[in-house]
Symmetry: none
Subunit: 232 residues, 2 copies
Amino acid sequence: MTAKILVVEDESAVREMISFVLKQSDYDTLEAEDAEEARSLLADETPDLVLMDWMLPGISGVEFTRELKHDAVTRDIPVIMLTARGEEDDKVRGLECGAEDYVTKPFSPRELTARIKVILRRVAPHATEEKVEAGGLELDPTSFRVSVGAKEVDLGPTEFRLLHFFMTHRDKVYSRSRLLDRVWGANVFIEERTVDVHIRRLRKALEPYGVEGLVQTVRGAGYRFSERQAAR
Amino acid sequence: MTAKILVVEDESAVREMISFVLKQSDYDTLEAEDAEEARSLLADETPDLVLMDWMLPGISGVEFTRELKHDAVTRDIPVIMLTARGEEDDKVRGLECGAEDYVTKPFSPRELTARIKVILRRVAPHATEEKVEAGGLELDPTSFRVSVGAKEVDLGPTEFRLLHFFMTHRDKVYSRSRLLDRVWGANVFIEERTVDVHIRRLRKALEPYGVEGLVQTVRGAGYRFSERQAAR
DNA sequence: AGGGCTTGTCATCAAATTGTAATAGTGGGT
DNA sequence: ACCCACTATTACAATTTGATGACAAGCCCT
């Protein structure tokens, strides 16, 4: 279970865009197009954070935030305000109403997730994620453990993330550059060849457990995780 | 083969957002903040599609698109214009300058990728991620696998690309020079005879699987991929 | 500060791939 | 049957690409 984020934004295109970014960054999302819809969602669900558009039809984002901050049930949910550029003077008012941060539209995915991360780390202790199983391997993101049957596999952090990514994206070839993006994080300045080394480390770590051939090389293209043995 | 998309947009936040969405949707991206940067990228790379902001500093997106459409090298690269809302009247002008489509900002990831998919399928079917099937062969660009029934075929990178191209462009004869352009990439200086060799390698690789006669020679014209047996 | 890990980078080795040239083979027209 | 243009096939050397082991810098914990 990852952190759940409620997106309150009236423009559907923008809402979907935000939701998309959050989902790719492993957050669960809830969407509402106005305060009313948001209220009804909040009746059954408790998000870990709210992204609130400044301008909303009916009750404005500011007022709604104030409302949330008055209710004992929702008071502790952090709110990030989304403001359009030019409304920046209003940021003071935004924070006054109780929001923990604000982000100016348009924003880059990096910016958005960075803010969210900071706030979540401060407020919500990290949530759990689903176990994955493939090719005799079992990986538990919560406890950072990988096992083959009863035996536990010893992996470094990077190898763990790499394996996790592979196990959740099977049968598909990823180029080194894409792996760097997805496993190391976008905009990192790392040699592509470094990926080879971590692949090697991962393979080496798995070797003693008789689960070989899962991490496959596709010459000229990249690497692939698959239970099917590769031709060759 | 994943398609490569060039994003020309001056606002970095928007550019990153678009690029992020595209990458998550398994496209490769190139980014340029103005026409000049785009030009220099186009000097050594050939994207499969261009996303062009309407407003650009210096040369506008419209003018730049027109420029691309005048150059024989870039003429065939499809362009999608990004227009801000309210500039919609301009869409006619946008299409007039040679763009194949336009998308209004703000847009949802779904909308953007849908448009791209439609255009790519039309213009560059081999740049899509879709599985292809023909003549008993099955090729999956995603996992880089080719199989006949349950048996997997082992192909080198070039043979894979060649086969992929053929399977997505059936029943049509391509001259060696055209194949070089489409499969090896424009502006490569390679002997035409080299194509023969790769055709040979491809045929040889397929031979053991009883799927012969798919890659056909058309004397004096080039090669063709077809399920129908050649006359002879 | 020191020890144990982890991580990114390199240098080197092995293997696969690729372009070219040389040679053999084909088909079709005369 | 013969020739010519065009294609097939083979061999090969250069180049690319991936695997691997070693290493030093950075971290964290004590």
